[in-house]
């Protein structure tokens, strides 16, 4: 060993650590203070009759939850892949985008020959199926081409690869479908009103979104806990080698994991259509990162965590700016929605990287 790298005197090293820890504590305290002051400010504003009305707050919360449940479905894909293979599948946002984009094509075709208006519910079902199939196919194809050869590589390499895949898919879709933003045809009229749930009027589309998300989660839960394939997925996620020893086809199970994550992203694609209607090739980028944040927030590898994280993130980015930032006197807070989501990402990864419900990693990735 070179004598030039002399050992640091212990005292000085501990001093450095204290400095970093001190900085982090300062951050925690500052964030906490900012949040408290902001919330108090908002309450003040509300009491003074400024800012959003009670009804507006209520709508904000509902829409945040519905957006959040969409994030949760996308987050499942990130969570499952991280649990099984130990890396962030950056391209999962594009898996989501592909579903909603191709769903859009089918929706437009249905709209053009009048089917959309005459049979709205069947049309939505068709879009759902198309989106799910597309997303699943894209996810499986990506795994086969870009990730399978990298099994066992240090985790940054598949991450970087997934960034490359993400670009490739984005710009392939740009080339195939053009760069203009397209809109889904309008939602069926039955959805346009409000539905009364427990005295709270909820917009029809939002209710449908939450409903679909809940049903999908239940379906997924059933699949993963009660079926043989689901058990195999859980076994492979926990300990690939021993799972192989049980006779489980590890490769096929990994493909299934990607497929299921893709299918959920496809469902999310339909939900995007209902909530936001506009789609282009860049649609997957922000929701992708936000969904990853949600996955980490809930605890990566942990499926209930992904859903919980999604809803929470929806609330953070939806309600947060109005609740906290407006209270601090910052103008035009809705612009900062994405920044709040990113800030949530940063704060979670700094202060609680294992997430709220704990992370679930495979045996190779656990420290």
């Amino acid at each position: 060993m070179s004598t030039e790298v002399a050992p640091e005197p212990v005292r000085s090293r501990r001093f450095k650590f204290n400095w970093v820890d001190g900085f982090l504590w300062f951050l925690r305290v500052a964030a906490l203070i900012a949040i408290v002051v902001g919330v108090v400010g908002s309450i003040q504003q509300f009491a003074d009759g400024e800012g959003p009305s009670a009804a507006a707050w209520r709508d904000l919360i509902v829409s945040s939850i519905s957006t959040g449940s969409m994030y949760g479905l996308i987050a499942l894909g990130y969570s499952m892949v991280y649990g099984v293979l130990g890396f962030i599948n950056f391209a999962h946002g594009e898996v989501f985008m592909s579903g909603t984009m191709v769903g859009l094509i089918s929706a437009t075709m249905l709209f053009e020959n009048g089917f959309w208006d005459s049979n709205p519910w069947i049309s939505i079902l068709v879009v759902l199926v198309v989106a799910m199939i597309t997303s699943t196919l894209v996810a499986v194809a990506i795994e086969r081409v870009a990730y399978r050869p990298l099994r066992g590589a240090p985790r940054l390499i598949p991450l970087i690869t997934s960034i490359g895949v993400s670009f490739f898919v984005q710009y392939s879709f740009a080339g195939l479908f053009g760069v203009a933003i397209r809109n889904y045809p309008p939602a069926p009229s039955q959805l346009s009103g409000n539905v009364d749930i427990l005295g709270i009027p909820i917009a029809g589309t939002r209710l449908l979104v939450i409903g679909v998300a809940v049903v999908s989660m239940i379906g997924l839960w059933y699949f993963v806990t009660q079926t043989k394939t689901g058990s195999a997925m859980r076994a492979v996620a926990e300990d690939k080698e021993i799972a192989g020893l049980m006779g489980i086809d590890v490769d096929k199970t990994i493909v299934t994991t990607f497929a299921v994550g893709g299918a959920m992203a496809g469902v999310a694609g339909l939900l995007w259509a209902l909530l936001f209607r506009g789609v282009d090739f860049l649609t997957g980028f922000l929701p992708g990162i936000k969904a990853f944040t949600a996955a980490v927030l809930g605890g990566i590898g942990n499926m209930p965590g992904a859903m919980l994280g999604g809803v929470l993130l929806g609330l953070f980015e939806g309600v947060g700016p109005q609740l906290v930032l407006a209270g601090l006197g910052i103008p035009a807070v809705s612009q900062l929605k994405d920044a709040v989501a990113f800030a949530a990402l940063v704060l979670v990864l700094i202060f609680r990287p294992t997430g709220l419900l704990g992370e679930r990693l495979g045996s190779e990735d656990r420290v």
């Binding site: 900085f23 392939s172 940063v346 700094i350």
Partner: protein, 577 residues
């Protein structure tokens, strides 16, 4: 001749690529650029490259680590022919299936121009036949090339590459050779090489390669041997430096503009190289430091800076900007010190985006100009004149100066104590801590150094363009710089330069065009494909530092050795044989 599944698979892949490149509009777009006038355009090269590669891979067959592959031209050509045939048929089936419908509403690039191009303008009937034949021939050629012995094969590749380089770099060459008459001898009026110039270049490349093969081997050998090699390396660097200094004077404004972009990316690449390549920290939000430099300079020098307008001189403002960047480096680095690699990557991405959103926000508009940004940023004062983007021939030298400084910093840190600390940290953090390296200090130093170098680029950028606004600072820039560093070779200065030259120079940067405008729509797709390819085949990059190559392939070697990884749960109580 039986159809072996590998040949069939490559044929289908080739065909799929042909259909894909057609459907996204790449073929039509590339058709605008003529490589060899009048017979070969970039579009047709791309179209036929797919079956050629399919033929090559089919001829290669299954790669066995143990056996030496046989080289047989006839066999290779045969397999290649079949693969190319399948590819062509696939492409034709695609066209026939799609043609009857008007898909332009959903697939704007599947249009008449695509069909015309893919059928060689012969119409769907005859054109399909021509396509199949051409594809089969391309496949056969690709397969035959595989079948050649090493020397002729290298010769063919060398010739092809030099011809393509000369045709793509037409603008640079014609700028350097200012005499129109000579340029007309080489290049045709409408663009592209004359057939005879292509032939001459090809033959020359082959011949020179063969002739000097021995000499080249000698030189490479000498370069490895430290003493004589060191002198050789320094003289090569000297020659390269001389060329680099002289080049801007020879070329015109457009190329100089391009060179400035390349140089800026080399600058940022060098900075990111320190963070990613040397210290092993995957920073996806590097553009934030670039923004600090650019906006810092803008606020300090522009008379139109809202809120705060000291209107300093560029040179005076530069140290201030550097300090700001260093602070930013600490602010970003400290929270992420303890994170594992992939989380660090995403957090830094988040930081980068937060910075961009804040720049754009109404909240900070009073300070940073919001969506309009800050304009009227003065150029760099040099004596009597002010150097900015309006005089690219001068500006490029300013940029080169700072690139030199950054390169020097890179080089010195790499060889120094901190460089070794980074290397140790990269290998195994815990061990590094155990032998007394403060990883906290090392990581922060990496971030700060990287941030300062990025701020150089930002300061230059401000002065060059005269305006800064949020659009220039999105995540795309961070990722492109990362691709440059990775493709060029992590940890290697030459690698970064080469990466920037090839990627930014030829394909174009995130917001700017490269040498070839046709690539513009597709460059990010190509970037993505290149990144994936590099990670799968050559993660150490094109010109890696030797150490890095060893590191990455060591892990590979450990994985290739199934003995090591597979069944590792069956452990010996004490690890030994």
């Amino acid at each position: 001749m039986s159809l072996d599944p590998l040949t069939r698979r490559w044929g289908l892949i080739g065909g799929a690529i042909m259909a894909f490149t057609g459907a996204i509009g790449m073929l039509v777009s590339f058709d605008e650029r003529i490589l060899i006038s009048p017979i070969l355009s970039l579009g047709y090269l791309t179209l036929l490259l797919a079956p050629a590669i399919a033929g090559h891979m089919a001829a290669r067959g299954k790669v066995s680590v143990l056996e030496e592959p046989e080289h047989d031209v006839a066999q290779g050509a045969q397999k290649g022919l079949v693969a190319g045939l399948i590819a062509g048929v696939f492409a034709v089936v695609f066209m026939l299936a799609v043609n009857p419908f008007d898909l332009s509403e959903f697939f704007p690039n599947i249009n008449d121009r695509m069909f015309d191009m893919m059928t060689f303008d012969f119409g769907l009937g005859l054109g399909s036949v021509v396509l199949i034949v051409a594809s089969a021939l391309a496949g056969a050629a690709g397969g035959a090339i595989y079948g050649l012995d090493d020397e002729p094969r290298e010769g063919v590749f060398r010739s092809a590459i030099w011809v393509i380089l000369f045709s793509l770099f037409e603008l640079v060459v014609s700028d350097v050779i200012e005499v129109d008459a000579i340029v007309d001898l080489i290049y045709a009026r409408g663009g592209g090489l004359h057939i005879w110039s292509a032939i001459i270049i090809g033959v020359l490349a082959w011949w020179l390669g063969v002739r000097y093969k021995g000499r080249r081997a000698e030189l490479t050998q000498m370069a490895k041997d430290s003493e004589a090699g060191s002198r050789l390396r320094w003289s090569l660097i000297g020659v390269a430096a001389l060329l680099v200094i002289v080049l801007p004077m020879l070329v015109g404004g457009i190329v100089n503009e391009l060179l400035i972009n390349v140089a800026l990316f080399i600058l940022m690449g060098l900075g990111l190289n320190i963070v990613v390549g040397l210290a092993g920290l995957l920073d996806l939000g590097y553009v934030a430091f670039f923004a600090v430099g650019a906006y810092g300079m803008a606020v300090l020098t522009s008379p139109l800076s809202p809120a705060f307008s000291p209107e300093l001189n560029w040179w005076v403002a530069l140290p201030v900007v550097m300090v700001l960047a260093a602070i930013a480096g600490v602010l970003v680095g400290t929270p992420v010190i303890r994170m594992r690699g992939d989380y660090l990557a995403i957090v830094t991405l988040g930081f980068g985006e937060i910075v961009r959103i804040l720049i754009l926000s109404d909240w900070l508009t009073p300070f940073l100009g919001g969506a309009q940004g800050i304009t009227r940023i003065p150029g760099i004062p040099l004596g009597a004149t002010s150097v900015s983007g309006t005089s690219p021939e001068l500006f490029i030298y300013m940029t080169m100066l700072l690139v030199g400084v950054a390169a020097y910093i890179s080089y010195r840190t790499q060889e120094s104590r901190i460089g070794r600390a980074w290397a140790a940290m990269r290998e195994d953090e815990d061990v590094a801590e155990a032998i007394g390296i403060s990883t906290v200090q090392a990581k922060l130093l990496a971030f700060v150094t990287g941030a300062i170098i990025a701020s150089f680029a930002g300061a230059l950028f401000s002065a060059k363009v005269g305006t800064v606004f949020h659009n220039s600072f999105d995540v795309l820039v961070s990722i492109i710089i990362l691709v440059v560093v990775i493709v060029g070779g992590m940890g290697s200065i030459r690698g970064v330069a080469l990466g920037a030259l090839i990627l930014i120079g030829v394909l174009g940067g995130p917001k700017s065009q490269g040498l070839l405008g046709e690539f513009a729509e597709f460059k990010l797709l190509i970037y993505g494909a290149i990144l994936v390819y590099m990670m799968l085949q050559r993660p150490e990059g094109l010109l890696p530092s030797v150490r890095r190559s060893r590191e990455l392939h060591q892990e590979e070697a450990a994985q290739d050795a199934w003995l090591d990884k597979k069944g590792s749960f069956i452990e010996e109580p004490e690890a030994s044989v």
